[in-house]
Point group: C2
């Protein structure tokens, strides 16, 4: 038991990332039922859809689960209402100011976690009263920080500066990377990309297969003028790069991005024209597996590696 398993009332310090278009109640409940913290990704859901997922998740698990709420979501008030109404145990907020909603959520008895990509915002989140932070490094898929600080650098810095528990994110897909994050001072890990390729994920099968086939250097952090985002270098990405090489205006980039690119890629499976958000660890993800098997493999490797550390080859 550690600070995070105690805070959330879970068995294993593995948090499934609340990824847009990929994190339905089926995935969240599977992770929670297997001892981790499952998370419904509300960023791609209309208010009525989120409510449906929360109700179904509660019916599918008696264990704690969470909802991820990007605070810049246009109907955020309705999402907040839903999580309070249905007494969702944990809310993970991101992409916005933690001061705005933390107090209201906590008064409703909800545990609040905020996602940050710098020690500066980890400190601000702590001041805003959150119970824990997710610190996410440069290698993570999807939205990312401007400082480009990697998980290896970020976790040590954040854990040195804040007193609340820290969940490491970005680059975590295996038991070795989980143990490395704990060595750096994290209390838990958040796993995203590997759960995109889980059986319970709502990612389109084309996207899951594309993740499984990904190799070294297949992702890139782009759109840095807006919100930096890590995605697979497909045709749509190529169009963005051409626009950059022609010194395109911000307006032109926004027009090119348009609406629904992420849905088109990740949910509808258009591998050419869609936006395919995934982390650098896609390199190691070689099969689509049930969420429970992913967790078992991670935990087994974590313990095997931890055991090996006591051998003489680590004495100097």
């Amino acid at each position: 038991m550690n600070r995070i398993t105690k805070l959330f009332g879970i068995e294993k310090p593995i948090i499934q990332a609340g990824m847009i278009w990929c994190s339905p109640w089926q995935l969240a409940s599977a992770v929670s039922n297997h001892g981790g913290l499952g998370v419904i990704g509300a960023g791609s859901m209309y208010p009525d859809v989120l409510e449906e997922h929360v109700i179904k998740c509660k019916n599918a698990t008696k264990m704690p689960f969470a909802v991820n709420l990007p605070l810049l979501y246009p109907d955020i008030d309705q999402h907040i209402e839903t999580v309070i109404k249905h007494k969702v145990p944990v809310v993970i907020t991101s992409a916005g100011n933690p001061k705005t909603w933390t107090k209201i959520l906590k008064e409703a008895g909800i545990t609040v976690v905020h996602v940050v990509s710098s020690a500066k915002f980890a400190l601000k989140s702590e001041s805003a009263g959150v119970d824990a932070v997710v610190a996410e490094g440069f290698e993570a898929g999807g939205h990312n920080g401007r400082e480009e600080t990697t998980t290896l650098t970020l976790i040590q810095d954040v854990t040195n500066k804040v007193s609340i528990p820290v969940i490491a994110a970005g680059g975590i897909a295996t038991g070795k990377s989980m143990l490395a994050a704990m060595v750096l001072g994290a209390d838990a890990v958040q796993i995203g990309s590997r759960f995109v390729a889980s059986e319970e994920s709502s990612a389109h099968l084309n996207f899951k297969n594309r993740v499984v086939q990904s190799g070294e250097g297949d992702t890139s952090l782009t759109l840095k003028e807006m919100t930096p985002v890590r995605m697979i270098k497909n045709e749509f990405y190529g169009k963005l790069q051409s626009a950059y090489s022609e010194n395109a205006s911000l307006e032109h980039l926004k027009e090119l991005l348009g609406r629904g690119r992420a849905k088109k890629g990740m949910f509808e499976g258009d591998l050419n024209e869609g936006e395919l958000e995934i982390g650098q660890v896609a390199t190691y993800i070689n099969k689509i597996q049930p969420a429970s098997v992913i967790m078992d493999e991670v935990i087994l490797e974590y313990h095997n590696t931890r055991r090996q550390l006591s051998s003489k080859s680590f004495d100097f």
Copy 2:
């Protein structure tokens, strides 16, 4: 003892990076005398200067040491002649094709290591017959890879793919990060930035002080059209960014870079107009210390953290 301490004949698996303008015989011999592998950085030395440093290093230590040779160095033949003539125990090659010189160096009885930033080039280096690779992630200072793969992602991938020993580089400055790298499968770590701020480093005092004062997000990877390089965001960096925003040609960028920018910044201490190469870990480097104290602190934290891992709070 492990594969790297055995290969090099050293006591502790800590390699000091052979950084241009910062890695003279004084630093290399101090690290070697304290049980690590000290490295003379030949990339910023004329052939006669390198020979002087090699001779002085041999006089200052009876322990193994290395020379870092960037293979694209214009007078590389003369550098190769020097390391063979003086029987330098280990040569760490970088920035070039390991096929060209590995055989010649090995026939002279020299242990050869090549620096890579991808699993692809780690495999090519292994085929070229090198004895080990340094795998360096995106967070490292100075020259870097195009794939932007972070140390956390890279080390697992490289150690899964090659059979030869792997030295992790980029983001390593503390005992925790050393242990994290070993957990990921590395046999040793290479520490650069922290040794820049060592007493024995030949970095200008202005540069050492600038490193000590650095905070989060103070470095950036730029010049991606030429050789990507991580540097401090100073006035010179600002000029590069202005040129980018005006869609400057490669010729214009080269002109702006000019000659001797790295020397001006790191060796002559011009913090505004010089190029200041340093890693993201500059954030944690808070004082200038003797190389031996740096190594003692790293090793102490490594063992303390390793010991803590057996506590119940890591059982799940």
